[in-house]
């Protein structure tokens, strides 16, 4: 990666090699989409990445990165891969 920014690299990458600060990511199938999520609290996940071949899925604000989903309210949850 070539990083080009006005922020110094040491500020941007601070804590990069600290495993405690790295989120534990898992892949899940949610409503027919593959999502890379992080568990936050009970039955809640924060979306980190969406993997879907349908461009329209990316326009849905519910599935934007950073959104929190409540697993109990979801349909089509196929569980952990």
């Amino acid at each position: 990666m070539i990083y080009w920014s006005i922020y110094p690299l040491e500020v941007v990458l601070e804590g990069y090699d600290d495993p405690r600060r790295q989120p534990q990511l898992v892949e899940m199938q949610i409503e027919g989409m593959t999502m890379v999520v992080e568990h936050v609290g009970r039955a809640q996940v924060r979306i980190h990445r969406l993997v879907s071949p349908r461009p329209s899925d990316y326009l849905n604000p519910r599935f934007a990165p950073g959104e929190i989903l409540c697993l109990s309210s979801l349909n089509g949850l196929d569980g952990l891969i």
């Binding site: 990666m1 070539i2 990083y3 080009w4 920014s5 006005i6 922020y7 110094p8 690299l9 941007v12 990458l13 601070e14 804590g15 990069y16 600060r21 790295q22 989120p23 409503e31 980190h48 990445r49 969406l50 879907s52 461009p55 329209s56 899925d57 990316y58 326009l59 849905n60 519910r62 934007a64 990165p65 309210s73 979801l74 349909n75 089509g76």
Partner: protein, 255 residues
């Protein structure tokens, strides 16, 4: 009689409820609001179907490496499919890109810039706050660019980081990376290569680096950005470009 109110149930169609389908919009927008009150106990404003797609690029442009959580990032793997969706959608006629970015991954930023530049629909970018480093090619990628009077753009050379094999190789490599960015910027704006390089290599302006901070009006003077303005002018320009492309498409249909 079971008159008890039913607890709100999850409905897989719920997301579509917020964004009504075209036929719903005209005939039963009121019903949709009523349903929202019933279902959620609140009045979600029924969003009208806009023919403009607004994309915001803020914070760091995140590419191949996931940045630590203290960074606010825009992930390019999310931006790219959104641009694809905007391109293929029949309803979307123009894209407005709002930028306030401090820079980030060169590859990711160039990928986004190329996507914006090759979009067949009219695009307008608006730089608010800042469009620094890799934000510069993204800002110039559109058909027409605006910068707010108070917004700034930092133009400075790509610095060395990452895996370094040897001095001559890395120098060559950096030069090549820089060349890609410079070429893109000069191709998509009115600035000359010489002016851009002069701004980039200027000393005495930045505390930690060589380069220049270009404020709103100067960016227009150097030819980097097309016009000074905020949201209103940007939107008016986008509508004008959309109208032009509509006329053009109409003409093609006649032929």
């Amino acid at each position: 009689m079971n008159n008890q109110a039913q607890p709100p149930q999850y409905d897989p169609n719920y997301p579509e409820r917020i964004f009504p389908t075209p036929d719903e919009q005209g005939t039963s927008a009121g019903t949709a609001i009523a349903e929202n009150i019933e279902r959620l106990g609140q009045t979600n404003p029924v969003a009208d179907e806009s023919n403009i797609y607004c994309l915001t690029i803020v914070g760091q442009v995140e590419g191949h490496i996931m940045l630590p959580p203290q960074n606010k990032t825009t992930k390019y793997e999310h931006i790219i499919p959104q641009l694809v969706a905007a391109e293929q959608s029949d309803k979307i006629e123009g894209v407005l890109i709002i930028l306030n970015t401090v820079g980030g991954d060169v590859e990711a930023g160039l990928a986004i810039s190329e996507m914006i530049a090759s979009l067949s629909k009219p695009t307008v970018t608006l730089v608010l706050g800042g469009g620094h480093s890799i934000g510069v090619p993204i800002a110039v990628a559109s058909d027409f660019s605006f910068i707010a009077e108070s917004a700034t753009m930092t133009i400075h050379p790509i610095r060395l980081n990452g895996l370094v094999i040897g001095v001559p190789q890395s120098f060559e490599y950096l030069e090549k990376m820089q060349e890609r960015v410079t070429r893109f910027i000069t191709l998509h704006s009115r600035i000359t290569e010489q002016t851009l390089k002069d701004l980039m290599l200027k000393t005495g302006e930045l505390a930690r680096d060589i380069g220049t901070t270009v404020v709103g009006r100067d960016a227009v003077q150097y030819g980097l950005i097309d016009e000074l303005g905020g949201l209103g002018p940007a939107m008016a320009k986008l509508r004008e470009l959309m109208e032009q492309s509509r006329v053009q498409r109409g003409r093609m249909m006649v032929q």
